[in-house]
Symmetry: C2
Subunit: 318 residues, 2 copies
């Protein structure tokens, strides 16, 4: 019988749901602690590349994260063996988008200043704090690596009347607002004009240190930088300099390089740098949503329908 092998860690009750739903389609569901992946057609969870190599019948790998960096080195293998790689970005896109908006609003409403004031001198700092508050209307936001999170973020920003532009690898004609090619002159100009630069780039080879000293140096004076993508896409030294000099009003980082960020790293103590420990994708219903997302895809797979959240490999010329 065709087999799903999983090393996805979840609760007993959700594991039972997984098993029942897989078996209901006439498949076998094997747990990593009970069996090797050797005979599996479908691998679920965070399978190692070695597990995939030991698995000649593999046709589909579904990872339970939005990121799939560890598999990029094996792109050729996926393509040669015609194995589909899907990810769980849909699960994490909306919480990540809500986290970015939380950052943008906390920044514009000066919540950190109020928080510091409350935790230290408990002074009713009405004048100074209020004088720095902002409304988002009319401000420019650049969404870099516009994809599923960016789409959710643009939805949430709809009522704010901001001036949204996007940067992505492959701009399409159907985009609802100006969309630039990542790395193009127009894209870089857009970054330099934005009041809010939202980095959602994935941690793949082509995006490594996309925010290099040159691009960071050209960000608008007083702008705010947000990273909900991957730490590897940013030159942190350059970011630190831009924060220290005041060129950037602030940075809000959910991802760093490395993670965990070591306690002695200077970003921790840079006053206008706010760090959340890779919590952007969290949601109260995370485990159940991850499972439902896979099972919906599993039904599509068994029914021969196109899967969702398929990794689109870059062309080798990229």
């Amino acid at each position: 019988m065709p087999t799903v092998w999983t090393n996805h860690k979840t609760s007993e009750s959700l594991a039972a749901v997984l098993k029942a739903r897989v078996e209901a389609r006439g498949w076998v569901c094997l747990q990593a602690e009970d069996a090797k992946a050797t005979d599996a057609e479908v691998l679920l969870g965070q399978p190692s590349l070695q597990a995939l190599r030991d698995c000649p019948k593999a046709r589909w790998v579904h990872v339970t994260s939005a990121g799939y960096g560890r598999y990029t080195a094996a792109q050729a293998e996926f393509e040669t063996r015609r194995i589909t790689l899907t990810k769980s970005s849909e699960v994490f896109a909306m919480p990540c988008a809500q986290q970015v908006l939380a950052y943008m609003l906390a920044q514009s409403r000066q919540l950190p200043a109020a928080f510091e004031s409350q935790r230290s001198h408990r002074h009713w700092a009405h004048g100074t704090i209020r004088g720095n508050t902002r409304v988002l209307e009319g401000q420019r936001v650049a969404i870099v690596g516009y994809g599923q999170i960016g789409t959710c973020l643009a939805q949430l920003l709809g009522p704010f009347n901001m001036r949204i532009q996007g940067l992505r690898r492959n701009p399409g004609p159907a985009d609802a607002f100006p969309m630039h090619q990542l790395g193009s002159y127009e894209g870089d100009s857009c970054l330099g004009q934005a009041d809010h630069v939202v980095n959602l780039l994935p941690g793949v080879e082509s995006t490594a240190r996309f925010f290099d000293p040159r691009r960071i140096g050209k960000l608008k004076a007083g702008s705010v930088f947000y990273n909900m993508g991957r730490g590897s896409t940013v030159n942190q030294e350059a970011l630190l300099n831009a924060l220290r000099s005041g060129q950037l009003a602030a940075a809000w980082l959910d991802v760093t390089d490395p993670e965990p960020l070591p306690p002695e790293h200077p970003l921790w103590v840079t006053p206008n740098c706010y760090i959340t420990p890779h919590t952007g994708g969290g949601r109260q219903d995370e485990a159940a949503t991850i499972l439902r997302h896979f099972l919906d895809n599993f039904d599509r797979f068994v029914d021969g329908e196109p899967l969702v959240d398929v990794v689109q490999w870059p062309a080798f010329s990229d």
Copy 2:
């Protein structure tokens, strides 16, 4: 010539704009430091009740704040003398709504926990913080004192797919979601079921301590209370108890009673109470927007058109 008298404090350049626009309509514009209000038809700024009493020709008072608590004692005078009172709520509604959403998202994305962690031990508290994150989808929000801020907030919440209900003095048939009468059984039930209780009540006699020990005691376990209305509408002892017992997950307060909140007040040091010093209405373009709002109304007044932001006095039976 008809006269606008103003004690509104603003920049020299905006004061010049005010003077020019008023004179362009054939009116005189007098500053408080140069003249008494005695001959004015229109009073702008924060005129005292005494100034109004000394001013027999007054037909319109426009206050540069959203609140107008100091005038409620003179309701009969306004009505008998047929003086219109307008306020500047439109100016402050959107920043206040953005501040409420900033609170809701900061709470659901656990920004204070990340902030405390960063400022103290710099530990990458991924597991504990992420485990408490939430998305807003499907959660219930009760907007109490639904008016201009509530309307803006409901707009901003549109893409979040929350379950919104409102409470107001006079529910209308045109409301886009369930709207209950303030103080009714249905309204109180709605409060008790909400995950997020957003208090936008103005500080008038009829709303004093609306959130009394009984209503606070019936708020849902684990819910979050927000105050962007006035401090006088809440029994702070009861609020403190609900925060200390953990009945409320948190409170986010932009207004307190009194203001400034004294440094020794226990709300400052209650760990799940977050206080901003009455900064909700702030916006980068505040002074210019206040002036434009008045001038638009002034043009309507001169042209005999209905004014906006008119105070609707409660019927005396209320």
